[in-house]
């Protein structure tokens, strides 16, 4: 069993989740993920790593409550325990001195792009950060990016902070901000990553995205996480999860991600209360 150090909602629907797992913490690199099971009947849920503390032996993730399993996670309390916390999984994000790097985070990806930004900065890159959300109250961790970045740029759908709109405005924004990225790294929801990859396809900028397909084992054993990258089938859990988003077959990816939509809705109605049907 793994002890929960912290589980608290940091902005609506997004939770900070800190678990004691010394051996996992000891081996983590930026871009890795872990697999957690909230209880003995639970699914294996993949979560990206957002931070860690090797001395304390803890690992931090940010998760969004979307369905039944993340709802179970959201009910956990500090001091409680979970049966599975396996990792670190996946290949680490490639870290080198690329020159100028633009890190983009949205949703839980604001958390998971943070250790990547930190490592890139340490490797000597000039770093810019863009954080995107529907509204200002959904942004978090801005202060943590500031010491790493030349500038932390915000985009909100409703314009309550920073630029108004969404990442479709990326070319315009980097022109205005005079950023010439040698590489773009996007962590976040599938649509954000797809959108940015579509935009940068014409711009010849390598765009690394952190793919989040359905998974079971996370070790290359089941193949459910497969996706097409540059026409070849890859397993996201062992060949990725980072890929150049410009090579990903996004239509296929989104379809595969929807495989269990009808089933996933069912457990949400488990309360048996008539008004929930």
């Amino acid at each position: 069993m793994y002890r929960i150090i912290e589980r608290r909602m940091i902005v609506p629907n997004l939770h900070e989740f800190i678990v004691e797992a010394p051996e996992v913490a000891n081996s983590i690199k930026p871009g890795n993920f872990v697999i957690v099971r909230p209880d003995e009947t639970g699914e294996r849920v993949p979560l990206s790593v957002a931070d860690w503390n090797r001395e304390a032996g803890t690992v931090t993730s940010i998760f969004m409550q979307v369905g039944a399993s993340t709802a179970k996670l959201a009910r956990l309390k500090p001091g409680g325990e979970i049966p599975t916390f396996a990792g670190p999984l996946g290949r680490e994000t490639e870290i080198q001195n690329f020159g100028t790097v633009l890190c983009i985070g949205g949703c839980y990806g604001i958390g998971s792009v943070f250790p990547i930004a930190r490592a890139l900065k340490e490797a000597g890159n000039t770093l810019y950060t863009i954080l995107e959300a529907r509204s200002a109250y959904l942004l978090y961790w801005q202060e943590m990016f500031k010491p790493l970045s030349e500038r932390v740029i915000e985009i909100t759908r409703d314009g309550t902070s920073g630029y108004k709109g969404h990442l479709a405005r990326l070319p315009e924004i980097i022109a205005m901000e005079k950023i010439r990225p040698d590489r773009i790294i996007v962590n976040g929801c599938t649509f954000q990553m797809m959108k940015v990859s579509q935009i940068t396809k014409e711009m010849a900028i390598k765009t690394m995205v952190n793919m989040n397909p359905i998974m079971i084992d996370g070790t290359g054993m089941c193949g459910v996480c497969r996706l097409s990258v540059a026409g070849k089938t890859k397993f996201a859990c062992v060949d990725g999860p980072d890929f150049d988003g410009r090579d990903v077959d996004w239509v296929e990816f989104l379809n595969r991600r929807r495989t269990y939509n009808p089933e996933e809705v069912y457990p949400l109605h488990k309360s048996g209360c008539a008004s929930h049907y």
């Binding site: 051996e23 070790t219 089941c222 193949g223 089938t233 595969r256």
Partner: protein, 465 residues
């Protein structure tokens, strides 16, 4: 007057096919005491017992059968356990018709002794009694052994070395121990309670078990070697192959590993009591003809499919599955499409599989392996409807360990290279055995490899410190 030889194999009671396709309970119910003693009574107790040559771990078959005849089951189980740590498992899943039973002298007239069923009888008798005897254990010798993987190979090494006085720790990647016995072979063929019992038994010998521990990721073998005196790698062959035909990424196309893992390990068949969902397709096609394919096709029926097909490119004679399981599948209504090769999958706008395009095959000359190789018949293409495809054409070892262990020699298909007799790899203090060395094989061969490796580890390590 010499005793009349009885050539009649005693059948084991089974659930009726129409009943059993509606549940996940074990198909074969097992011998009653009476049946077991009748069956054991047929054994000739040959001086030169050929049956023993067919068992990869060389169980003293006539000796344990004699115990059944005498009604001394405690002595029988003890005899079995001298050479086989998992009799309840082997009695159920060994391909006996190609091993022990193939060599039995009575087999010449089609009446070989049902050795597997008798083995199972003894193991189940012991389980029902609820009391397991622990063999004599040597005092702790101060040496530490790490084992990667808790499948039959790893469990055998753990058992043997624990008895010899080593402090043994097993690291298992998944959240349950047992390897393929837990995540692959379905409940209706091998109840998980049996696997659990065997794992608990090994733990009762003082073996430590860490679950959710991915060697090569959570910690490398080299780091483990700083703390342990030797490592045995029994990581199995868990990487699924696909056919490499167009359309394999449509929704509704699964590897057998995914399909069976969802069902067995994650208990998808009990969704929503368990959270991992499983689709309930109506028309399922399984590609392949081995045990894995049979298990997938039979699972699909139990999950409510109207039609479950085995699509196999050779003919019935070449089917690699155990004869008994192919027969069970047929009884349950699995449809066998022999001499058929899928060439393309088609799907709808939302990315869901709808149809399989196949081509008919004929058998040509025998190839290097002695099997007649299938050749496509020109112009014989046809289509079949399906809402699920399960690809069960094979597995190879997962590259995680070789990738993270410098200097560990690996063969063409990603298998770890190890000496057959000893399990020694190219690296000092690292042994390997089971499917990770041979590619997908059998439970008993993995156990045999584990046994030989344990012997070699003991010979090499004992007294070296």
């Amino acid at each position: 007057m010499a005793k009349q030889i009885d050539y009649e194999r005693r059948h084991m009671p089974k659930q009726e096919p129409f009943e059993r396709v509606k549940n996940f309970d074990e198909v074969a119910i097992g011998y009653t005491e009476e049946l077991a003693r009748e069956e054991a009574g047929r054994c000739l107790h040959c001086k030169k017992s050929l049956c023993r040559e067919g068992c990869p771990v060389g169980i003293n078959i006539p000796a344990f059968i004699e115990c059944i005849v005498a009604g001394d089951y405690a002595a029988g189980i003890k005899k079995l356990k001298e050479t086989n740590a998992l009799p309840a498992v082997c009695g159920r899943v060994c391909p006996q018709e190609e091993q022990c039973e193939l060599h039995c002298i009575l087999g010449k007239k089609g009446g070989s002794i049902c050795i597997g069923r008798l083995e199972r009888f003894l193991a189940d008798w012991e389980a029902a009694r609820g009391k397991t005897e622990t063999p004599a254990m040597a005092a702790l010798n101060g040496m530490k052994i790490a084992i990667v993987g808790s499948g039959p190979a790893g469990i055998t090494v753990a058992n043997d070395l624990a008895l010899l006085g080593y402090a043994v720790t097993i690291f298992e990647a998944l959240h349950e121990a047992g390897g393929v016995l837990t995540y692959g072979i379905p409940e209706f063929r091998l109840p998980k309670a049996i696997v659990k019992r065997e794992v608990e038994y090994v733990k009762s010998l003082g073996v430590k078990l860490y679950l959710d521990y991915i060697v090569g990721k959570t910690r490398t073998i080299d780091s483990i070697l700083q703390e342990f005196d030797g490592v045995f790698v029994g990581a199995g062959a868990g990487l699924p192959w696909f056919m490499d035909i167009p359309g394999e990424n449509f929704n509704g196309v699964y590897s057998a590993n995914e399909y069976l893992t969802r069902c067995n390990l994650m208990k998808g068949y009990r969704f929503p009591a368990y959270d991992t969902p499983m689709k309930r397709p109506r028309c399922v096609a399984v590609f392949g003809g081995g045990n894995v394919a049979m298990d997938s096709a039979r699972t699909a029926l139990r999950l409510g499919a109207d039609e479950s097909h085995i699509v196999y490119r050779r003919s019935k004679e070449e089917l690699p599955a155990r004869a008994e399981e192919a027969e069970n599948a047929e009884e349950e209504g699995v449809i066998f499409d022999y001499l058929t090769l899928p060439v393309r999958l088609t799907g709808d706008e939302q990315g869901w599989l709808t149809e399989i395009e196949c081509i008919k095959m004929e058998l040509g000359e025998p190839d290097a392996s002695g099997r007649r190789s299938p050749i496509p018949i020109k112009g014989s293409e046809f289509k079949m409807k399906a809402d699920a495809v399960i690809v069960a054409i094979g597995n190879s070892p997962n590259p995680l360990i070789p990738m993270s262990t410098p200097g560990l020699a690996v063969g063409k298909k990603g298998n770890i290279v190890a000496e057959e007799e000893t399990g020694k790899t190219s690296r000092e203090r690292i042994w390997a055995g089971g499917d990770v060395v041979t590619g997908a094989a059998t439970v008993i061969s993995a156990m045999g490899a584990g046994r030989r490796a344990a012997k070699s580890m003991h010979a090499t390590l004992f007294g070296s410190k």
